[in-house]
């Protein structure tokens, strides 16, 4: 098929088992297991792959899985899927596997997880870590807009209850949760309590990206990437995570990071916010859901707290969010796995594979990564058909 008529789609996904610890597993064994699972899901084999994206492990995997000559991706998180789609659509590769996995990395439990600890000289000596960085964004919003502790608890209780019902979640069966349960958990970094925060766990995941034109030879219906966008304000955890950090376009502060990205994604897809059936929002901390609902224009600025309080985001609501339990309850196996798992959950929802948490008639999913504590946001719109 001529390159110009290609449209990339997600044709296979797989999560390995996720757990607080996976004894005997390494990041490599989980990555290979995830690749095999995603290929099986797609009905493809290793011989079909001619591209891989695996952060800094991609080149080694090309060698050790004998994939060469192959295209090599360099992005992280959802950016890996965006980059893989671009590679397929531009003819740089036919079938790309995107993979991330982590085990046996967070072993010193006296400190917070290693990926949360900044090393920068203008941050580290003041004891910041991811929870504190995101707390600085949340506190500013609470002071300026009156967002309440109760509203944060509504978010965390909703997402953790989703995880409670998800048989594949690390914290399956731990709930259901009421807002008071969140507020009663021990304080971590004000306003965040333990249950406002992502967990730490181990696991792997992979996706296969290929031309949708191959669909007839595939095992499952392809899920289309209808649009995507990327917003960065700078490197994470080196500069003050200020809501009001602006570039030369001073209309878009860091607190609204992702607004430009979401506008671009919806523009590419030819869709409106009302077309979205399920929001697989990135949930490193409870407040981040409120911020994204505003930044992505699902509710007016400053009204995200009231929006979640009205029940919109529950699994039966108008805007069901983070339906597998997310980073709080499903899994957080390091940087890229938990980001890619937002996209995988979107695919599961559009395929009708979300089990007890299936959103009825889900045709369009919005998936996101990042957040204002991290100074970046990525947005991806998935659809079960191309409009």
């Amino acid at each position: 098929m001529p390159v110009h008529s290609r449209t990339a789609a997600i044709v296979g996904v797989h999560n390995t088992r996720q757990a607080r610890r996976l004894e005997g597993s390494t990041s490599r064994t989980l990555a290979v297991e995830a690749i095999s699972g995603a290929l099986d899901d797609a009905g493809l084999t290793l011989a079909d792959i001619d591209g891989i994206s695996a952060e800094d492990r991609g080149s080694a995997l090309i060698h050790d899985l004998r994939l060469g000559p192959a295209w090599l991706g360099r992005q992280f998180g959802t950016g890996m899927v965006q980059e893989a789609c671009a590679a397929v659509e531009h003819g740089l590769a036919e079938v790309v596997v995107v993979v991330a996995a982590q085990a046996a990395v967070y072993v010193d439990r006296s400190s917070t997880a290693p990926w949360t600890r900044p090393e920068n000289e203008f941050v580290a000596p003041w004891g910041l870590f991811t929870a504190a960085e995101f707390a600085l964004v949340a506190r500013r919003h609470m002071e300026v807009y009156g967002t309440t502790r109760e509203q944060l608890s509504m978010v965390a209780a909703t997402i953790r209850t989703n995880g409670h019902h998800n048989p594949h979640a690390v914290y399956h069966g731990r709930g259901p949760f009421k807002p008071d349960d969140i507020t009663a958990s021990r304080p971590i970094a004000d306003p965040f309590h333990l249950l406002d925060c992502a967990m730490t766990s181990e696991g792997g995941c992979a996706l296969v990206v290929a031309d949708a034109g191959r669909a007839t030879s595939l095992r499952k219906r392809p899920i289309h990437v209808l649009g995507s966008g990327v917003d960065f304000f700078g490197p994470s955890y080196r500069h003050p995570p200020s809501w009001d950090l602006v570039g030369r376009d001073s209309r878009l502060p860091n607190g609204l990071v992702g607004r430009r990205a979401s506008d671009l994604a919806f523009g590419q897809a030819g869709l409106t916010r009302a077309d979205v059936d399920v929001l697989e929002l990135y949930d490193p901390f409870s407040f981040e859901i409120i911020r994204q609902l505003e930044a992505f224009r699902f509710c007016p600025d400053g009204e995200g707290g009231a929006f979640v309080q009205d029940g919109h985001i529950e699994i039966t609501g108008t805007h069901p969010v983070t339906t597998d339990g997310g980073l709080m309850s499903f899994s957080h196996a390091g940087s890229s796995p938990q980001m890619l798992q937002r996209v995988i959950r979107g695919v599961q929802q559009l395929r009708g594979e979300a089990g007890p948490l299936q959103v009825p008639d889900a045709h369009v999913a919005l998936c996101s990564n990042g957040g204002a504590g991290a100074l970046f946001s990525t947005v991806m719109l998935l659809g079960d058909e191309r409009p």
Binding site: E121, P125, W126, G127, L136, P187, L194, H239
Partner: protein, 150 residues
């Protein structure tokens, strides 16, 4: 119950300053809060950069700030990032009078005293073996930063 926010005392994680950042830390050791100001357009830059973030001129000049600012946002950490830190401590973003923001901790205040736009002033503390850290305390408080080495 009022809980007083204190400075840290143990050896803390910190990076070795490079050529671009060493003047800032040397200033801290003297009890001076330095920042860069562009020689061409006068924009303030922090953390330090080789060029002005406003006009891109490579004419960054170190100036001594007043050390006064206001509290832009804060958190109170109860689960420390590493065992080197003693909780509670209060990471904060401070908006300096000179027009830039920096990360620090608020000390010398009660946890309940933290509020938006609380006037603050810098105070330096020798922490661990070799670090002189700028902290911020409420501006209406008499400084007790007598332990600064000069």
């Amino acid at each position: 119950m009022s809980i007083k926010l204190l400075p840290q005392y143990a050896d803390l994680p910190h990076a070795v300053p490079g050529p671009l950042t060493a003047p800032f830390w040397a200033g801290c050791a003297r009890g001076e809060l330095l920042y860069q100001r562009c020689g061409r357009c006068a924009a303030a830059t922090f953390p330090p950069a080789e060029h002005c973030r406003e006009c891109l001129a490579v004419d960054q000049r170190w100036e001594r700030g007043s050390g006064h600012g206001v509290l832009y946002s804060w958190t109170v950490v109860w689960r420390p990032v590493t065992p080197a830190f003693t909780p509670p401590y209060a990471p904060a973003i401070v908006t300096l009078d000179e027009g830039y923001q920096m990360v620090s901790n608020v000390i010398g205040a009660d946890v309940d005293q933290l509020r938006l736009n609380l006037p603050l002033k810098v105070t330096f503390r020798a922490v661990g073996n070799e670090l002189h850290l700028p902290y911020f305390e409420p501006a209406d408080q008499l400084s007790n930063s007598t332990e600064v080495s000069s």
